[in-house]
């Protein structure tokens, strides 16, 4: 038995060591910077909390993440539902439609949106051609652009768990409800929706958490007009070399994410498989 334990320890040790050195220690070192500012132990958090600008950034991050999550869930619903009903060729086609964007770099996808959303880009010209608008809409370098890009990137994360939940719904439960006299609305509200709710909330939580830490898409599509917390952290490091502020911001972001994750884990039977992308 002792031999078995030693073998197991040898199997696990390299990766644990690797992660400690490259991940845990660097994180700890970074966070320690937040508390070793010359202004005092919690001075950095004070700066973040008191500045009107920083408060607006955090609020904006939250609002954008919330809006993105809502839109994503709404758009994910019909796709997940169709996936759960389709078979054969159409199922494969729809599934690849969801997986294909998943495979493509976020940077490339964001770049595509930059081309499309430009002032003189195809979408603005199409809208003008259709007479929807007289002059080009500002779709880029503001929250609109950020939300379009983020919804696009995050949709698959909402679709897959929702689809999994819908596919798991036993058809006979719906038949049973029907046979007991329930109309479509009753069957939906009392049986179908409660059964897919864990998948929906799981996907929404995941999307919300990813939204909070999103960097590339808001940085490229939002620019200076739509700054998020992650952009702020990056600019502390690259533009201002304000490491202690970057550390404080990072810690805040991580704690918020972990807190939400803990709440979600308590409320939802989170599928481990959900994280396998």
């Amino acid at each position: 038995m002792a031999r078995y334990r030693v073998e197991t320890a040898c199997l696990l040790a390299p990766a644990v060591l690797f992660l400690l050195l490259l991940f845990v220690v660097p994180l700890a070192r970074l966070f320690s910077l937040a508390f070793t500012d010359e202004g005092g132990v919690f001075a950095t958090f004070g700066v973040l909390a008191e500045s009107e600008v920083y408060r607006r950034v955090m609020l904006n991050t939250f609002v954008v993440a919330l809006a993105v999550t809502l839109i994503t869930v709404l758009l994910a619903w019909p796709v997940a539902y169709a996936l759960s009903r389709l078979k054969g060729f159409w199922f494969a086609l729809a599934l690849y439609g969801v997986l294909f964007p998943f495979w493509i770099s976020v940077l490339v996808r964001t770049f595509s949106w930059m081309i499309l959303l430009e002032r003189n880009g195809p979408i603005n010209r199409l809208l003008q051609g259709l007479g929807v608008t007289d002059q080009p809409l500002a779709l880029l370098f503001n929250d609109t652009g950020v939300m379009i890009g983020m919804v696009h990137v995050l949709l698959p994360y909402a679709i897959m768990p929702l689809y999994a939940a819908m596919a798991r719904v036993d058809r006979r439960l719906l038949l049973a409800s029907d046979g007991l006299g329930a109309g479509l609305l009753d069957t939906f509200a009392r049986v179908y929706f409660p059964l897919v709710l864990p998948g929906l909330l799981g996907g929404a939580t995941f999307v919300f958490l990813l939204s909070l830490g999103f960097f590339i898409t808001p940085a490229l599509l939002g620019g200076a007009n739509a700054i998020t917390l992650s952009m702020l952290i990056a600019s502390f490091v690259t533009d201002r070399l304000a490491w202690s502020l970057a550390a404080a911001g990072s810690l805040v972001l991580l704690l918020v994410v972990l807190a939400l994750l803990a709440v979600a884990a308590r409320l939802l039977p989170l599928d481990k498989g959900m994280f396998a992308r």
């Binding site: 006979r172 439960l173 038949l175 049973a176 029907d178 046979g179 007991l180 329930a182 109309g183």
Partner: protein, 359 residues
């Protein structure tokens, strides 16, 4: 519901030429069948014989490709399940996993928008009926298989359905539990006489429960009748083989007159006369049917045979008898130890116990 009083609840159910096909596959061939109000009818057959299709047509979960379906006097052919007032007990029950026992049972009443007090009263009554008092607040996944089965039954009964439909409701239970639930179902039926269609592939279950049994094969009803009808007067070799044990010896029918057939049975090396299943024509492939308990050993004059195998079943013994032609048949008799393997015997049967059936 005064205890002991026999009520009759429910309506008659009638299939008129109802059929269901998927593309080229005929799941149910055009079928006429009437279940009387208060009757308990079992659909018996192997899987894929069309019994579940017939049940789904009755429930309204599928629409027939042809024909009509009536509940009472009402044509329900195109009426969705939710408007039919049927009670369905599914295989594996299909209980709502996110609801308690009470919520499962109350479901049909809630969607009918009944008053709370009325719902509570009826749920309590039906839980008492199926002996689940005190289990109301449990989650359905905390229940044993037998308890889940009773919740499913309660959920179907509480809406006072015109017809009760059950799809292999005891399939997931172990054999002993199945016995006791069968008796329970019979008690409930005898108290309430609710029109019931019951699907099973277990012949014993069918015989225990039903007023009438419909034996199905390949999307068609082969025969409908009481247990006795099916056992004593099967219309063909399939029904004979499906209900009880049977010896079927190939026979050639040469003449038919007055319900009796003249047939040559080569493996016996003789020709004989026996009752014939209706509709059989001379020359059609046929078999001589004799139930094992009707084979008499030591009958003189008889056919000579040799005891090939002896199987003790307790108070009964099954004998495998090899005829001179090499064909074998089974006999059953009260156990006695006068025979052993290799003993030569003569066997026979009473003429009224032999029957010629098409194969």
């Amino acid at each position: 519901m005064t205890p002991g009083a026999v009520q009759q609840s429910g309506l008659s159910l009638r299939f008129a030429g109802a059929a269901k096909s998927y593309g080229d596959v005929e799941a149910l061939k055009p079928t006429d069948l009437t279940i009387a109000a208060g009757e308990f009818l079992t659909l018996l057959g192997p899987s894929g014989s069309g019994k579940t299709t017939l049940l789904n047509l009755a429930a309204g979960y599928q629409e027939p490709s042809a024909g009509r379906i009536f509940i009472g006097a009402r044509d329900v052919t195109h009426l969705p399940a939710r408007h039919r007032n049927i009670g369905m007990v599914f295989q594996n029950y299909a209980l709502f996993p996110h609801m308690s026992v009470v919520d499962n049972v109350a479901y049909g009443l809630k969607v009918r928008r009944l008053a709370r007090s009325e719902i509570a009263r009826r749920v309590e009554a039906v839980l008492r009926l199926v002996h689940l008092e005190g289990y109301g607040q449990r989650g359905v996944q905390q229940l044993s298989g037998g308890q889940q089965q009773r919740v499913a039954l309660a959920r179907a009964l509480v809406i006072e359905p015109d017809v009760l439909l059950m799809d292999e409701p005891l399939g997931a239970l172990d054999k002993q539990l199945r016995r006791s639930v069968q008796l329970e179902l019979r008690r409930l039926h005898e108290e309430h006489r609710r029109t019931t269609i019951y699907v099973t592939h277990d012949q014993e279950e069918a015989l225990v429960l039903s007023d009438r049994v419909a034996v199905m094969r390949d999307g068609r009803i082969e025969q409908v009748g009481s247990a006795g009808d099916l056992y004593d007067r099967p219309v063909n070799a399939f029904v004979a083989g499906f209900i009880g044990e049977s010896n079927l010896l190939p026979a050639r029918v040469t003449a038919i007159a007055g319900g009796q057939a003249q047939a040559e049975v080569d493996v016996l090396g003789r020709s004989l006369t026996a009752a014939v299943a209706p509709g059989l024509q001379p020359g059609q492939p046929a078999a001589l049917l004799i139930r094992p308990e009707h084979v008499l050993v030591g009958e003189e004059p008889g056919v000579t045979a040799e005891v090939a195998e002896i199987v003790y079943l307790g108070e009964l013994t099954a004998l495998n008898l090899r005829l001179e032609s090499g064909a074998t048949l089974w006999a059953r008799r009260i156990t006695s130890h006068d025979l052993r393997r290799g003993t030569r015997v003569t066997i026979g049967w009473k003429q009224e116990h032999a029957r010629i059936v098409p194969t």
